[in-house]
């Protein structure tokens, strides 16, 4: 394999690498075989979007648990949350726990209704629903574009996660761009191939393996490592020492183990904003719509929090690494916090077990990357290709376009990571989180009421995106002086620091409410609602509304 070079040199760990390669091959085979999983012979070949993009809309509680677990708790989370804990402590890292706690009541509240209306009308994407509910192609396109733009950097970040694993294994220090990234390219080409063949069934099957591996890795680490480093007492003492030291660049403490009163608002708004945003992401909606019945998602909201517990323990591994003196140094000799967790495993476990853990993280990147690319291509196919260009596209056409676009999306993410600086992907992801939350009013209010006016929602969305983008740009990193230095900014005209996405959301909601009142008073024509009250409570056995193609066009924006 590629030899390590110059400073930051690290040897290739042969045993760990072999384990990772074996698991990767097993996973790839599962991905291809999944094309024949739970499908009738007539439907083989994935000729409709329901089959390819939603796994036949037939996943039960167990598969959904694994699929959503793999979808929501991505490899990047596993890398980034402990990395944030290791670098600056609780505020930027541990908020992930309350975030993934309050996520499930929100899911319980909203997603059953979205499932029902989508089941009745055959909606595949959140933008399908918005288009049907508000009768506005402009609004549904805005929702679709936001979804695609927010998902792309998220896919790129999964690659960043794989890259961290490869670095620790000793791969990727080659002299030129191509050999340096060859393992990453191979991994992604294989992923693209089985996603193309098996659609959503591939990540669903792989998620089972990945989740079992990651549970084993985290449980072993959380029991074994504290006994090696003097118990939790000593670990938290080491973390406190690191966080209370003064950062010479800013003259402020490095971070905090227990957040101070000044960061309370940042902490809870980060948790709330992230929780509200997560199920607006197209890949989460794809997971929800692939389930068999209205109650599958609610049953899952009760048991999915087990993953949050695991995420909490994983976050604490960031502190364990402080105590253990883990040195996350990349090939360029620079400290890269994202290497903390992989490095911790490779330093403190036998190579074969470290290999299992690293494989779990790497495969954990493939599952969400597959689902995200499927979700993004479904959005493109349904809400851009069909709605804007080919209103008469058949089911078969849509499946074909979607499969092809999934390749383009993955290739784009790959180029993004290879050619651009990693921080570009991270900045884009930060912005993506701000943007995707701006689709919340249109989607969520629409699930309960038709009171909002379509143009009010559109202008509110634009206002939220505008504010969020400007505010995020204006956050300057005190050390590097780069823009997009973080996701926290003061509420305008105050000095209360909060998560930018939440401020933008409030602006968005206020604009939508005020303009709805004005537009209603001015009798601005509103779109035709294609859904009915009873659609929102429909379940498995209820018949689908047969789509009447003919009146579709004239009912959209005049």
């Amino acid at each position: 394999m590629i030899a390590a070079a110059a400073s930051g040199a690290r040897p290739v760990n042969g045993v760990a690498l072999t384990v990772v390669i074996i698991i990767f091959v097993i996973v790839a085979i599962m991905g291809f075989v999944a094309a024949r999983w739970r499908i009738t012979p007539e439907e083989r070949g994935m000729r409709t979007l329901d089959q390819w993009g939603l796994g036949g809309r037939g996943f039960g509680s167990w598969i959904t648990w694994f699929l959503l677990g793999g979808d929501l708790y991505t490899a990047y989370t596993f890398i980034a949350v402990p990395a944030a804990m290791w670098s600056t402590g609780a505020v930027s890292g541990f908020f992930a726990v309350p975030y993934t706690v309050i996520l499930y009541p929100i899911v319980f509240l909203l997603m059953a209704r979205l499932w029902s209306v989508s089941h009745r009308h055959g909606y595949v994407t959140p933008a399908d629903f918005v288009g049907g509910r508000y009768g506005s192609k402009t609004l549904s396109t805005a929702i679709a574009v936001t979804g695609i733009v927010a998902t792309m950097p998220y896919i790129a970040l999964q690659l960043v996660g794989i890259k961290a694993v490869l670095t620790v294994l000793g791969l990727g220090s080659g002299a030129n761009v191509f050999t340096q990234d060859l393992p990453l390219i191979i991994a992604f080409v294989v992923l693209a191939a089985y996603t193309y063949t098996a659609g959503l069934r591939a990540p669903a099957a792989i998620a089972v393996v990945k989740d079992l591996l990651i549970y084993i890795a985290v449980i072993v680490a959380i029991i074994w490592l504290p006994t090696q480093f003097g118990g939790w007492d000593g670990i938290f003492k080491a973390a406190t020492t690191k966080m209370t030291a003064t950062n010479p660049a800013t003259n402020l403490p490095v971070g905090s183990v227990i957040p101070g009163a000044a960061s309370f608002n940042a902490y809870w708004t980060l948790a709330l904003g992230s929780a509200m945003a997560l199920f607006m992401y197209p890949h989460s909606v794809t997971g929800v719509l692939s389930t068999k019945s209205r109650n599958t998602i609610r049953r899952n909201a009760v048991v999915l929090p087990i993953y949050s517990l695991m995420l909490g323990f994983l976050a604490l591994l960031g502190y364990v690494a402080i105590k253990a003196g883990t040195k996350p140094i990349g090939f360029d000799g620079v400290v890269n916090p994202q290497l903390v967790v992989p490095q911790l495993f490779i330093d403190n476990f036998p190579s074969w077990f470290a290999g299992v853990a690293l494989a779990a993280i790497a495969v954990g990147a493939l599952v969400p990357a597959a689902i995200m690319s499927i979700a993004a291509s479904n959005l493109f196919t349904r809400n851009i290709y069909r709605d804007l260009f080919k209103p008469n596209a058949t089911e078969g056409d849509q499946a074909k376009v979607s499969k092809f676009v999934s390749l383009v999306v993955k290739f784009g993410a790959l180029l993004f990571v290879i050619l651009m600086d990693q921080s570009a992907a991270i900045n884009m992801q930060l912005l993506g989180g701000v943007w995707i939350l701006q689709t919340f009013p249109a989607i969520v209010a629409g699930l309960y009421t038709r009171w909002f006016h379509r143009w009010a929602l559109l202008i509110g969305w634009a206002a939220g995106i505008l504010y969020g983008t400007v505010a995020a740009y204006n956050v300057v990193n005190p050390v590097t002086h780069a823009h997009f230095g973080g996701s926290i900014a003061p509420i305008p005209f105050t000095n209360v620091p909060v998560y930018i996405a939440v401020t933008a959301f409030v602006i968005n909601a206020l604009v939508s409410i005020i303009l709805t009142v004005i537009f209603r008073a001015a009798k601005v024509p509103d779109g035709w609602d294609r859904t009915t009250h009873s659609d929102y409570g429909a379940d498995e056995g209820d018949p689908r509304v047969v789509e009447v193609l003919e009146p579709y066009e004239p009912t959209l924006d005049r």
Partner: protein, 90 residues
């Protein structure tokens, strides 16, 4: 073609929804009240309160949602039976 105006469920009894609504509000709001738990004492096996309390809420939320699921799905079955006739639960 099916007529979309046919109701999929019978009328709702408010009580299960009200109780679930209150439980869901608790499940969302309480974990966000940072001043309650931004302290290090009492520790649990060396882990500061801030950390174990928030992780405890993972389990509390799961419990609250389990109650909500029981209430809502029973009411849901009753409402569905009102329009479809009784059915066997999976």
């Amino acid at each position: 073609m099916s007529s979309p105006e046919v109701p999929t469920r019978g009328p709702a009894r408010p009580l299960p929804y009200v109780i679930s609504g209150i439980l869901l509000v608790i499940a969302i709001v309480v974990p966000l009240i940072v001043p309650i738990y931004a302290r290090s004492e009492p520790t649990l096996a060396g882990i500061p309160f801030f950390y174990w309390y928030q992780m405890l809420w993972v389990l509390i939320d799961a419990g609250l949602l389990w109650i909500c699921y029981g209430l809502i799905s029973r009411e849901d079955r009753r409402r569905r039976a009102a329009v479809r006739g009784p059915e066997v639960d999976e």
